[in-house]
């Protein structure tokens, strides 16, 4: 079982890496990190703040775009090219196919994040001339960004398991935007009453809470992050990913591929 999943994952990784869109997006993210240097010079004494904020935001946003645009085609492309039937006839259980695809895309994003992070650290070294102990917090922020990618990959895969690429992209991006405002949804819920409160609260807990994983501002201001927060966010991302992948498996198991 595990070897089949690993093979599917590695093939997914190879295929994603060959996608030219990926290189363009990584290049843009690195350029944006570099541009942060010039933006920081406009405001004295906050170059470091601007580089970290802009750089990490670029890593996060471009990574999300990569996750969505690669993720939405994971299943639909295989169906379109008819390669899915060959894979499933091996036989490879459908759930292993889904898990393998997810792991391949997740691996791709981890590697991309590594290269984009080099751009951020390079820009930071240029403005600050040296690294300091609080800069290690940037690694925590990057780790949380990777957790965001895991969630968005699983959601892209969930939508890809039953919908067309266009709608999958719309749904996944919409959930990303809504999830970024999860705190505000909870705020709305607290101001309402009755059935509306219940619905709003349920929605607030069901949408992926990207605001909980966004510590870019805290890191830029060198606010400490507790190990408990790191652990709980890790478990949250893993459980949410599991939830989305379980949904994808349930749907894909029943999908008529003819």
């Amino acid at each position: 079982m595990s070897s089949r999943i690993v093979h599917i994952a590695s093939n997914t990784f190879r295929e994603a890496v060959r996608d030219r869109v990926l290189y363009n997006l990584i290049a843009f993210a690195v350029l944006l990190s570099g541009a942060a240097i010039f933006v920081g010079q406009i405001s004295i004494h906050i170059e470091r703040l601007v580089v970290i904020n802009l750089g990490l935001t670029a890593v996060s946003l471009f990574g999300i775009v990569i996750a969505i645009f690669v993720g939405i085609g994971l299943v639909s492309k295989e169906i379109e090219k008819r390669t899915l039937y060959t894979v499933l006839s091996r036989p490879v259980p459908r759930w292993e196919f889904i898990v393998g695809k997810f792991l391949g895309l997740a691996g791709t994003l981890v590697v991309n994040t590594f290269f984009m992070a080099i751009g951020v650290f390079g820009a930071l070294l240029y403005v600050a001339h040296t690294f300091s102990a609080p800069d290690a917090l940037i690694l925590v922020a990057l780790y949380f960004i990777i957790l965001e990618f895991l969630i968005i990959c699983s959601l892209a895969l969930l939508f890809s398991s039953f919908s067309s690429p266009l709608f999958s992209a719309v749904f996944a991006f919409s959930l990303f935007v809504i999830g970024s405002f999860a705190d505000d949804i909870r705020g709305f819920a607290s101001l309402t009453q009755g059935v509306t409160r219940w619905i709003a609260t349920a929605a607030a807990y069901l949408v992926p809470n990207f605001s909980a994983l966004n510590v870019i501002s805290a890191v830029a201001h060198q606010q400490p992050l507790s190990l408990q927060l790191v652990l709980q966010n890790t478990f949250y991302a893993l459980f949410y990913t599991t939830m989305a992948l379980s949904g994808a498996v349930l749907i894909f198991e029943r999908r008529n591929l003819k």
Binding site: P93, R94, W95, F181, D183, D184, G187, F188, S190, L191, Y205, L206, N209, A212, V215, S217, A218, H221, Q223, P224, L225, S226, Q228, L229, Q232, N233, F235, Y236, F239, Y240, T242, M243, L245, S246, G247, V249, L250, E253
Partner: protein, 310 residues
Amino acid sequence: MTGPRRTTTIVAAGCLTISMVACILLLRHIDEIRPPAIIDDALYVSSPKMVKAASLGFDGMMACIYWTRTVQYFGERHFNHEHTYNELAPLLEITTALDPRLFPAYEFGTSFLAPASPQGAGEPARAIQLMEYGIRHNPDNWKLYYNLGFIYYTEIKDYEKASQVFAQGAEVPNANPLMKVLAAKMAGHAGDLATARLLWSSTYESSRDTLVRQNAIEHLRAIQVEEDVTRLQSAVTRFGERTGRLPASMRELAAAERWPGIPVDPNGHPYMLTSRGLVVVENPDDFNFLTKGLPPGYKPPPLPKFHMHT
């Protein structure tokens, strides 16, 4: 359904359910330990014009988001015993820039932006600017004139200006007839407790915001106590003039004045008499905004308590 497929379905459904519950439970814990960066994020762009431009036409939705954050900001700082509300003015300015017709924001500004700390942000000038902005964009709303006049009366103590503003508001079509009364009261009886009671009563009755109504109730309770203390203190003076001494207790005073019982405060506790003949409340901590009836040497608690019912 075949065996392996059924197993996959059961396992996947179980994983989905367990994961969903785990996510909800974890989020509640995560909320408690997250770094407090929300307001920094909210005001990363502090210019109302830039926020409006960035909202890409979805001004109404952004106004709702900023309004929610404003209420959360004030509520959190208030209940965490913070004494400053530095971001309240920018948050209200952004909210009203995005939606000039978000009237609860102006009410909020009147009640909590103008008053001094710890009741509010202590920025009456910015509160006045906020109301004037609202009036420019909503000239037919008499309540904004009311709010502006309220600030001039309670915080600036410029009764002549307050009278002018109430008079202007009275000219607005469909204005509450109270506006003319207030304009007249400001002109002649601005310092009266009766005028203050009228203002706070109308604030309570005309507002739907819970915090604003609570604030109005607290002021009305304080006014009630001040009226009672003034009346009781006059009775003490009369007793002294008649007998040449101070009453030994409130019971003696009540008997001398032929009251049916010992006077009580809005909480139902009897007023007390000090050895120096001062009328004081039994529990001063239960009343906010008191200027009379406080025991000598009394220091108020850090933050006002809110009572919803009088």
